[in-house]
C-alpha cells in the first residue's frame, strides 16, 4: 500500500542535484572567502548576519538535535510516500552542513563551551573547536551525499522507514560524539551510536546479518565498557573529565595513566577497527545496506580514531606554552604511548591489506581496506603522540587521512552498491567489463581507486605523503626501528595498489558475462551523489593546501606542538615535490608485480589453514578439556556428546562464537544444578551460617 511508484527520472534527482550544486557553491564561496582566494572576502566579516549567527551559543546542541527531530518528522511523513520522507532527510542533512560552516569563526577562536551541569551526575558539556569542526564538516557533507544515494538505493528495500529513522538517530549520536567537550558526554553519544547503528547493520534481517550484528553489538559494548572503566579511573584519579591537559595529575598516578589510555585506545579502537579488535568490522560492514556500509566505513570508524586523537592529545599533552622543548620529561608518557600506537597501526595496516587481497566479495574487500587505511590513521596518531613536541606532522597526516579516507572509501562502497543494484552480484570474479554499461560508476571508481592508492593529483596522495613524512620523522627524531616501519609502509601501499588494480580489472575491465548485456542504466540520484564525491576527491587532490591552511594548521596551533616546527614544515607545505612523487613509482610498480604474480600463481585464492583461526586455537583445547571434565563427571552419560549440545561439537568449531558457547555452558550448568540448588535450600543456609561463623570467630 505504501509502495511508491518507481521512476528513474524523478523530481528527487532534480531536487538533490540542485541542492548539491547549491551546497558546492556555498562551500566554495565560504572556503575561498576564508582563504582569500579569487579576491573574495571573508564572508563572516562581510555579512554581519552571518557573524551574529555564528555566535549563536546553542549551535552545537541544535546541530545534534536537527537529525533526531528530522527522524521524528520522517516517521510522520513516512506513511505517505518515500519521496516526502526522503525530502525531509535531505533537507535535515543539508542544514547540518550549513550549521557546521556557520560555526567556523567560533571554532577558529577555540570554540565556546556549552555546559549542562548536573546532567548524568557530573554534567555534560559541548564545544566545537577546529578538530571537531573538521570532523563535523566531512561528516555532514558525506552524510548528505550518502542520503541522496540512499533514496535511490533503498527504494526497493523493505522497511526503509526504520532504516532512515535509525540513520537519523545514528547521525545525531555521531554529531554528538564529535561536539562533546568531555569524556562523559563523548561516552554517552558513543554508546548511543553503538546501539543505533546496530539497527543499520542488522537491517537486512538475514542470518548472516544477525550473526554479524551480534558480533558488532557485543564488540561495541565491550568497547563501551572499556571506556566506562577509563571514565571511572579518570573521575577518581584526575577528577576533571573535560578535554584539557591532565598530564600533571596523570603522572602522579603511576601506572594508572597507562591503564587509562590503554582502555580508551581499546574502547575507541574497537570502533575504529584497530588490529587485534577489528574482527567485527569485515563481517558487519558488508552485510549492512550499502548506504549504511558507506557511512560505517566512511564516518563511524573515524569517530573511533577521532576519540583516540582527542583524548590522547588533550589529556596526555601539556598545557600550551608551558613547555618549549621536546626533551621535557612531560613528554615521556605520550612517547611511550605513541610508540605502541605506531606499531598497533602498522599491524592493523598489514593485516588489513593482507586479508583484503584474499577476498572475492567486493564489499568484504573494501571492509578489509577500511581496516588497513585505519592503520594509516592510527599510525599517524601514534606519530603525533610519539614525537611529542614535534608530532605535528603525524597529527596533520592522520586528520587529513581521516578526511580523504572518508571520501574515497564511501565512494567505493557506493560504487559497489551501484554495481550490486544493477547486477545483483557482489563477487568480483563473476563480474567484468562493466565500464561499457556503467560508465559513470567506472569513472568514479577509477578516481576513488587512484585516491586510495595514493597516486599524485588525487587526494590519497596528499595525506599519505604527510603520513610518510611523519614516519620518517619518527625515526629521525626517535627510535631506529621505525626505519622498518617505513619499509612496511611502502610495501603495504603497494599491496593497496595491487588490490585496487585487481578490483578494477575484475569488475570494470575484462570480459563481460552475457547475463549483464541487458543492463540499461539511467541517470538518477545514485550517480549524482557519486559524481559529487568524485569531484571532491579531485578538488582536494589538486588543492592540497586548502584544507591544511583552513582547518588543520589552525588546529595544530591550538595543540601544544612546537609553533616553529609547524611554521617550518607544515605551513606552505608542497606535496608535489620530486622526492615525494618518486616514492610512488616503486609502489605502483611493486603493486603491478604483486598483481601479476598473484593472478599467475593464484595467490588471491589462498585460504589460510583452519588451525590458524583464533576460534580454533582458543576452542580446540577448551573443548577437549570440557569434554574430559564432563566424561569424568558423567561417564557415558556425558551431555556434551548428546545431540542437544551440538553447538559444542568439534565440527561446528568455526561457526560457534564465544558467546554461544557461554550460553550453552550456562544452559548445561543450569540443567544440571539449578534444581539441586533449589532443593538443597536448608543445606545452603546451614553451610553458609557455619562458614560465616567460622570466618567471624576465627579470622
Amino acid at each position: 500500500m505504501f509502495q511508491p511508484k518507481y521512476k528513474w527520472y524523478d523530481n528527487f534527482t532534480t531536487l538533490t542535484g540542485g541542492l548539491i550544486i547549491l551546497g558546492a557553491i556555498i562551500l566554495v564561496y565560504v572556503l575561498a572567502g576564508l582563504n582569500g582566494s579569487f579576491g573574495l572576502n571573508n564572508p563572516f566579516e562581510r555579512f554581519t548576519m552571518l557573524k551574529t549567527l555564528s555566535e549563536f551559543k546553542w549551535m552545537p546542541l541544535l546541530i545534534i538535535f536537527t537529525p533526531a527531530v528530522g527522524g521524528g518528522i520522517q516517521l510522520f511523513f513516512s506513511r505517505k510516500t518515500c519521496y516526502s520522507r526522503d525530502t525531509v532527510v535531505i533537507v535535515m542533512s543539508f542544514s547540518t552542513i550549513l550549521m557546521t560552516l556557520l560555526m567556523y569563526p567560533t571554532a577558529l577562536d577555540g570554540g565556546q563551551l556549552l555546559s549542562f551541569p548536573g546532567f548524568l551526575g557530573l554534567g555534560l558539556s559541548l564545544k566545537v573547536d577546529m578538530l571537531s569542526l573538521v570532523m563535523l564538516l566531512i561528516t555532514s557533507i558525506l552524510w548528505f551525499l550518502v542520503m541522496v544515494y540512499a533514496h535511490a538505493y533503498m527504494i526497493k528495500e523493505k522497511r526503509c522507514n526504520r532504516f532512515f529513522f535509525f540513520m537519523a538517530l545514528t547521525y545525531s549520536s555521531v554529531l554528538g560524539t564529535l561536539v562533546s567537550a568531555d569524556l562523559l558526554t563523548m561516552f554517552l553519544f558513543f554508546e548511543m551510536m553503538t546501539i543505533t547503528s546496530y539497527m543499520l547493520v542488522t537491517h537486512g534481517q538475514k542470518e548472516e546479518s544477525y550473526s554479524a550484528g551480534y558480533n558488532y553489538i557485543f564488540m561495541g559494548l565491550l568497547g563501551g565498557f572499556a571506556i566506562f572503566v577509563a571514565l571511572v579511573l579518570m573521575v577518581v584519579y584526575v577528577g576533571d573529565l573535560s578535554f584539557t591537559s591532565a598530564i600533571v595529575a596523570l603522572q602522579a598516578t603511576g601506572s594508572i595513566r597507562y591503564w587509562i589510555i590503554g582502555l580508551l585506545v581499546m574502547g575507541f579502537g574497537i570502533k575504529a577497527g584497530m588490529a587485534p579488535v577489528h574482527v567485527w568490522l569485515p563481517r558487519a560492514h558488508p552485510v549492512a545496506p550499502t548506504p549504511a556500509s558507506a557511512l560505517l566505513s566512511g564516518i563511524m570508524i573515524k569517530v573511533g580514531a577521532y576519540g583516540v586523537l582527542r583524548v590522547a592529545t588533550s589529556y596526555y599533552f601539556p598545557v600550551k606554552n608551558t613547555v618549549d622543548s621536546r626533551f621535557d620529561p612531560i613528554w615521556l608518557t605520550s612517547e611511550t604511548i605513541g610508540f605502541s600506537i605506531i606499531w598497533l597501526g602498522m599491524i592493523t595496516m598489514a593485516i588489513g591489506v593482507f586479508l583484503a587481497l584474499q577476498q572475492s566479495n567486493i564489499k568484504r574487500m573494501l571492509a578489509y581496506h577500511s581496516i588497513s587505511q585505519m592503520g594509516y590513521i592510527v599510525m599517524g596518531i601514534g606519530v603525533a603522540l610519539y614525537l611529542g613536541y614535534y608530532g605535528a606532522m603525524g597529527f596533520a597526516g592522520s586528520l587529513y587521512h581521516i578526511i580523504n579516507h572518508a571520501l574515497f572509501k564511501s565512494l567505493l562502497f557506493m560504487v559497489a552498491g551501484s554495481v550490486y543494484l544493477h547486477t545483483r552480484e557482489n563477487d568480483m570474479y563473476k563480474l567484468g567489463g562493466l565500464w561499457r554499461k556503467l560508465p559513470l560508476s567506472a569513472t568514479v571508481a577509477l578516481i576513488a581507486a587512484l585516491g586510495i592508492s595514493g597516486i599524485p593529483l588525487f587526494n590519497g596522495f596528499v595525506s599519505k605523503t604527510i603520513l610518510h613524512h611523519g614516519i620518517v620523522e619518527a625515526y629521525e627524531y626517535g627510535h631506529a626501528s621505525f626505519r622498518y616501519a617505513e619499509w612496511i609502509f611502502i610495501v603495504i601501499s603497494a599491496g593497496t595498489v595491487c588490490s585496487f588494480i585487481k578490483l578494477y580489472y575484475y569488475v570494470f575491465l575484462g570480459k563481460m558475462p552475457d547475463i549483464y548485456k541487458s543492463i540499461k542504466p539511467k541517470l538518477n540520484s545514485l550517480d549524482v551523489s557519486m559524481a559529487a564525491i568524485a569531484m571532491m576527491i579531485l578538488f582536494i587532490g589538486l588543492n592540497p593546501s586548502l584544507i591544511l591552511d583552513l582547518f588543520i594548521i589552525p588546529e595544530l596551533r591550538v595543540i601544544s606542538y612546537d609553533p616553529q616546527f609547524i611554521n617550518t614544515y607544515i605551513v606552505g607545505m608542497s606535496v608535489f615535490t620530486v622526492s615525494d612523487m618518486s616514492i610512488m613509482v616503486p609502489i605502483v610498480i611493486l603493486g603491478f608485480l604483486i598483481f601479476i604474480a598473484g593472478t599467475k600463481f593464484h595467490l588471491f585464492h589462498l585460504k589460510l589453514p583452519g588451525w590458524l583461526r583464533i576460534e580454533y586455537i582458543f576452542f580446540y583445547p577448551s573443548f577437549h578439556l570440557m569434554r574430559g571434565a564432563c566424561r569424568l563427571l558423567y561417564g557415558d552419560q556425558c551431555p556434551i556428546d548428546k545431540k542437544e549440545y551440538f553447538k559444542m561439537d568439534i565440527k561446528h568449531n568455526y561457526d560457534v562464537g564465544f558467546l554461544d558457547r557461554f550460553v550453552v555452558l550456562s544452559h548445561m550448568f543450569d540443567k544440571r544444578f539449578e534444581k539441586k540448588i533449589i532443593n538443597s535450600d536448608a543445606l545452603i543456609y546451614t553451610i553458609l551460617i557455619t562458614l560465616v561463623i567460622i570466618i567471624m570467630m576465627f579470622v
Partner: protein
C-alpha cells in the same frame, strides 16, 4: 497533627484492607476507586512527611506515650520517609496497572482478596520502615512474609502452591534467624529499641563478643535469606515467576528491597560501623554481592521462562545493592540507595511490560518473542529501555548506578569490583539483547512489517510509560534522587 501522620497512614492502610470485603456485593469498581483514593492519600502524606523531615528534621512517634525503654517507637527521619515514599509511589503505579491486568491467572472471585493482601503488604512495609524497634520489625516482617505467601499462591495452581510453600518455609527460617539474633541482643543489652540497643552493644561489645557475633551473623543471614542475597536466593525465581505480573513487580521491585533496608538499619544503626568492620562484615558482603552479580546473571542466561529470567536478574541486581552496602562508606550507601530506586523502577517496567505481552499474546518463553515489537511497540519499547538500563547504557538510571558504584568502589580502594560491573554488563547484554533483537528484528509468524498499536488496556500501558519516563528522568538528572538519598545517608554515621 504531623506527628500523628505515620500512624494515621498505618491505620488507614489496615482499615482499607478490612473494609474491602464489605464491598463484596457492590461492583468491583467501587473497591478499585476506594483503594486508589486511599493510596493517593497515603502517597500525599508520605510526600508531605518527606518534605517535612527534610526541612525541619526527624521526629519520633511513641505509642501511648511510653518511654522508649518499654514502649514502641516509630522514627520518621529522611531515611524512613524516603523509603516509604518510594514504596507507596511505586506501588501506586503498579496498582493502576493491576486494575487492568488482575485477570492474569487470578480467579474473578479473588480480585477483592488480592487488593486486601496488597494493602496488608503495604501496611507491613510501612511498619518495617518506620519502626525503631527490633522486635516490632520482626512482627511486621512476619505479616509481610505471610501476606506475600498468600499473594504468590493466589493463582491456585500447583506450581504456585509449591513456590509459595518454599517461600514461606524459607522466609520463616529467615524470620526466626532474625528473631534469634534479636533475642541474643536483648540478652546482653536488655532493650529492643534500636537506639538503645546500639548504645548497649557498644558498651558490652568487649564483654560479650560471642553473643554479638552470633547475633550479627543470624540477623544478617536471616535478612539475607529474605532479601534473596545470592546463595540464599533459592526461593526467588519460582516465587516471582509464579505470581501474577503485577505482584512479581511488587515482590521484585519493592518487597525484596524492604529487607535490604532493614539490613542497612541492622548493620549501621544497631551494630555500628566499628563492630561491623571488626567482624569483617563489609568485605564479606562485598564478596557475596559480587558473586551474586555474576551468578545471578549466569543463571538468568539459562532460563527459558522470561519471568524466571527476570527473577534471576533481580538476584544479580540485589548483588549491586549488597556491594554498595558492603563498601560501608557514605558513597557506597548512597549508590546502594540510588540503586534501590533505579532497580525498583527498571524491574517494575520489565515485569509489567512482560505482563502486557503475556496479557496480549500469552508468550512466556524467551525464544517466542520474534517480531513482537511490531505488535506491541510501546510495551516492548519500554522493555528495551529498561533492559538497556540493566546493561548500563547512559541516559538510563542503570548507567548512573553502575558509574557511581564504580567510583565508590575505586574510592574505597576496592577497584577490583569494577571488573565485576563490566562482566555483569556483558552478561546482562547476553540475556537481554537477544530478546530485544528478536522482538524488533526477526520476522514474526504473522509476517507483520508495519507497526501497530498495543492491544492492551490504556491502564496497563500508562504505568509502564510513566515508569519508563522515570528511568530516563532519574538517569539524565540523577540529582533529584541523589539529594534525597544524601540526606537519608546522613542519618547513618560512618
Amino acid at each position: 497533627m504531623i506527628e500523628q501522620l505515620p500512624i494515621i497512614n498505618l491505620i488507614l492502610l489496615l482499615t482499607t484492607a478490612l473494609v474491602i470485603p464489605l464491598f463484596k456485593k457492590q461492583r468491583f469498581m467501587v473497591t478499585l476507586i476506594l483503594s486508589f483514593v486511599v493510596l493517593f492519600i497515603v502517597w500525599l502524606s508520605a510526600l508531605y512527611l518527606l518534605y517535612h523531615v527534610n526541612t525541619t528534621g526527624a521526629f519520633y512517634y511513641r505509642f501511648g506515650g511510653y518511654s522508649p525503654t518499654i514502649g514502641l517507637e516509630l522514627l520518621i527521619n529522611p531515611f524512613s520517609a524516603l523509603f516509604t515514599f518510594f514504596v507507596i509511589t511505586l506501588l501506586m503505579i503498579i496498582f493502576i496497572y493491576s486494575t487492568a491486568d488482575a485477570s492474569d491467572g487470578i480467579h474473578e472471585r479473588e480480585y477483592g482478596r488480592y487488593y486486601i493482601l496488597m494493602f496488608i503488604l503495604l501496611f507491613a512495609m510501612f511498619g518495617i520502615i518506620y519502626t525503631n524497634d527490633l522486635f516490632n520489625t520482626y512482627v511486621f516482617m512476619e505479616i509481610l512474609s505471610i501476606t506475600t505467601c498468600a499473594i504468590i499462591s493466589i493463582k491456585r495452581k500447583k506450581k504456585n502452591y509449591a513456590a509459595a510453600f518454599r517461600y514461606v518455609m524459607l522466609n520463616e527460617m529467615g524470620s526466626l534467624s532474625y528473631l534469634f539474633g534479636v533475642a541474643l541482643l536483648y540478652m546482653v543489652t536488655g532493650y529492643t529499641n534500636i537506639e538503645l540497643v546500639f548504645q548497649g552493644v557498644q558498651d558490652v561489645w568487649v564483654i560479650y563478643p560471642t553473643n554479638i557475633i552470633i547475633a550479627a551473623i543470624f540477623m544478617i543471614v536471616g535478612l539475607g535469606l529474605k532479601a534473596a542475597i545470592f546463595p540464599l536466593h533459592i526461593w526467588l525465581p519460582d516465587a516471582h515467576s509464579a505470581a501474577p505480573s503485577s505482584s512479581s513487580a511488587i515482590l521484585s521491585a519493592i518487597v525484596v528491597k524492604v529487607y535490604l533496608i532493614i539490613l542497612v538499619k541492622v548493620l549501621f544503626s544497631v551494630f555500628g560501623i566499628t563492630i561491623i568492620e571488626a567482624l569483617h562484615i563489609p568485605s564479606l558482603l562485598m564478596v557475596i554481592g559480587a558473586v551474586g552479580i555474576v551468578m545471578g546473571s549466569f543463571f538468568a542466561i539459562a532460563q527459558h521462562d522470561i519471568k524466571r529470567m527476570l527473577g534471576y536478574s533481580s538476584v544479580a541486581q540485589i548483588g549491586y545493592i549488597v556491594l554498595g552496602i558492603g563498601l560501608a562508606s557514605s558513597l557506597g550507601l548512597r549508590i546502594a540507595f540510588y540503586h534501590v530506586f533505579s532497580h525498583g523502577i527498571m524491574k517494575s517496567v520489565l515485569f509489567l511490560s512482560v505482563g502486557a505481552v503475556i496479557y496480549q499474546r500469552n508468550l512466556r518463553k524467551v525464544t517466542a518473542y520474534n517480531g513482537i515489537g511490531y505488535m506491541m511497540p510501546l510495551s516492548i519499547g519500554m522493555f528495551t529501555l529498561a533492559a538497556l538500563g540493566m546493561i548500563g547504557i547512559p541516559l538510563t538510571s542503570g548507567f548512573i548506578s553502575k558509574f557511581n558504584l564504580g567510583i565508590a568502589a575505586l574510592d574505597g580502594g576496592q577497584g577490583i569490583y569494577i571488573i565485576i560491573l563490566v562482566v555483569s554488563g556483558i552478561l546482562n547484554a547476553i540475556y537481554y539483547l537477544p530478546i530485544i533483537i528478536a522482538a524488533f528484528l526477526r520476522e514474526n509468524p504473522e509476517n507483520q512489517i508495519y507497526v501497530s498499536k498495543d492491544k492492551v488496556p490504556l491502564l496497563m500501558i500508562m504505568p509502564i510509560l510513566i515508569l519508563g519516563a522515570f528511568i530516563v528522568i532519574i538517569g539524565v538528572y540523577p540529582a533529584i534522587i541523589f539529594d534525597l538519598v544524601d540526606s537519608a545517608v546522613s542519618t547513618f554515621s560512618f
